[in-house]
Symmetry: C2
Subunit: 356 residues, 2 copies
DNA sequence: TTTGGCACTCCGTCCGCGGGACTGCCAGCA
DNA sequence: TGCTGGCAGTCCCGCGGACGGAGTGCCAAA
């Protein structure tokens, strides 16, 4: 950090700041490079185009602006956006109506997965960007209950409920044949015995239990353990989930208008691993996070920006929710939107928890 | 039908048939209009370009070919494709390897939803088209069991298993508070009492039960009915599902290369209702179905073709599986692919059923 | 320090042209 | 009668040049 020449507030005079601000605002709305003439005509500066040219040249030297080619206007660099976000942006709050819509949508669904899905597509619709919702593995979370249901003769569905209200189910094929009675008993046993443990702990305890003498003779206990281990062993269903909603919205964006970059962008959104990587690192930070272009591998190669925020209770963050779009996006609107939605989500989840 | 001039085998002489066949084959592989010269050079005809031109003109008169513009080669019309599919196509069987891959992939997953998902994306990968899987409502199917699980104080997850092995779950919020004990009893009651009924029947019977005197006094029964009705009432989770997999594959297709038609096409695939409409009508037919371009509303407006087939046991078809792509697709490969996969799927489902 | 002026650069578009790939038609030939 | 070569005509496509527009940098004057 120290080696990189850090730019502070005072490194850039107020007039230049205003110019930068105006350029970015204009460029965000129309997507085109801004020239000195257009800038002069907007009326906010009592300056001639020539003077503005000087200011713009300075801003280019500082690395905030760039020219797509000689004799074109200027567009912001990612560094420019960063400065804008940190120092110049006045985010305009959501309207009453918008907040209502969010509250309503989020409040509506009851299963967590649905809530997340809905939030994602709502976010996508309201922002006209791609909405992403990341829910990390259930593995590290505390289990509230675990039930087993007979689905077919040797197929059993295991429903695990996390303390955070997440419900996960998976179907397992079993060697033994279980009756409904037995399954009820097993459900009870595991739920009462292991409530409050993480899946990982449960597995280890079950394995330890196998080794105890009591288990060797108690056939019912044996079956219980066998089933429990099978349920917990293959953890794939408990792994992270990433919902990408409204990917079609990038079709509108002029920055992805040609078929080639469109294709690339689309495929990029399919590669969920990379996205998960980023979101996972963001998970440690508390507030709203904005990643612009070169600030991460993924966003750099695709000229994306990400606006995201953690959701879940402050004590136990659940995942990340946010939007992905071209660097040129209305940060001033995206920021409060993502912020509000993530808070609404968190509130919703908090409620779920209180209920139990 | 009678009013439309139907074309029979004998309406078109063998040589013209071969020419049409060759044109379509070539156009399918390279996507470009075929001229008389290229056709002559392929070596299959001992004819001069001029003669071929005559044949082609005839084929155009019959409505099998068309010219994008004067002085371009010819491309097939949807009618041409239809004739090709009905009379000229020699579908080449899948390779041993391909069949193995399908069997393996389909055999792997255990939960039906997973199987469907996998099949869809497998289909998309193997065909390089968009894979669709349609599973119609569970409403009309017979229920094998119904279980209720405590998820939170006033939240209960209902897991319904259909006779066809489909597992559906939904979370309901309840007015009463239920204990685990009660839920077990209720699960048992409903499962034993109503196994073999459709959801619709269950609902009607439950409602009738409310009206009986016995129910007025038996508090447990009241609670049972209340829960059962709540579970069955909002049927949205039991409604059709449509999985569209590999939508990105249309990005490759030259027919959708310009940004505008690409955008349209993409949005079309989002509109699941229309797709469901088509697939639902196809559901009544038994064998492999191919819809070309103008043969349905949806395919016409987007210049799609659909190759699909019913899956599920013959007595109780479950849904449709197929691919969607541009009219210009390798029908000779798509047909056996979809056919085989749908059979593999059906076999898999049959197995599930036998197990119970 | 600001401004107007000027020369310059680069992009996008339009236009005209020629080549290429067809077709349809016609006349001649088996 | 059916096939073929030839010929005129049509249309697309790509290329190159010209031109206008937008914007810049620099310089000299206010």
């Amino acid at each position: 950090m120290a080696s990189r020449h850090e730019l502070h507030d005072h490194d850039i005079d107020p007039r230049a700041r205003e110019v930068l601000r105006e350029i970015i605002l204009q460029h965000i709305t129309n997507g085109e490079p801004i020239g000195s003439r257009t800038l002069a005509k907007c009326g906010k500066f009592q300056l001639s185009p020539a003077s503005l040219r000087n200011v713009m040249a300075d801003l280019e030297d500082l690395g905030f602006l760039q020219q797509p080619h000689t004799s074109a206007g200027r567009i912001p660099t990612d560094r420019g956006y960063r400065f804008f976000i940190n120092n110049l942006m006045k985010s305009h709050a959501l309207t009453q109506r918008e907040r209502e819509v969010i509250d309503e949508e989020v409040g509506n669904a009851s299963e967590i997965e649905d809530v997340l899905h809905l939030s994602g597509s709502l976010l996508s619709k309201m922002s006209d960007q791609v909405g992403v919702i990341f829910m990390p593995t259930l593995l590290q979370f505390v289990i509230r209950s675990m039930d087993f249901i007979l689905v077919a003769e040797n197929k059993i569905m295991c429903v695990a409920v996390g303390a955070n209200g997440v419900v996960v189910n998976k179907v397992i094929e079993t060697r033994y044949v279980f009756s409904r009675d037995e399954l009820e008993k097993i459900s009870r046993f595991i739920t009462t015995e292991y409530t409050g443990c993480t899946l990982d702990v449960i597995r280890r305890r079950l394995i330890r239990l196998t080794e105890q003498e009591r288990a060797q003779h108690d056939q019912m206990l044996q079956k219980t353990i066998s089933l429990g281990i099978e349920a917990v062993n293959d953890v794939a269903p408990f792994e992270h989930e990433l919902y990408v909603e409204g990917a079609a919205s990038i079709l509108n964006k002029p920055e992805f208008s040609d078929a080639v970059s469109l294709r690339k962008t689309f495929l990029a959104l399919q590669e969920k691993e990379k996205l998960i990587d980023i979101l996972e690192t963001c998970l440690s930070e508390e507030g709203l996070q904005i990643l612009v272009g070169s600030e991460s591998d993924f966003t750099q190669t695709h000229n994306f920006s990400i606006v995201a925020r953690r959701y879940g209770s402050t004590s136990a963050p659940l995942g990340m929710v946010g939007i992905i779009g071209p660097m040129r996006m209305e940060y001033a609107r995206m920021a409060p939107l993502v912020d509000y939605l993530s808070r609404a989500l968190s509130r919703k989840i908090e409620e779920e928890q209180v209920e139990q």
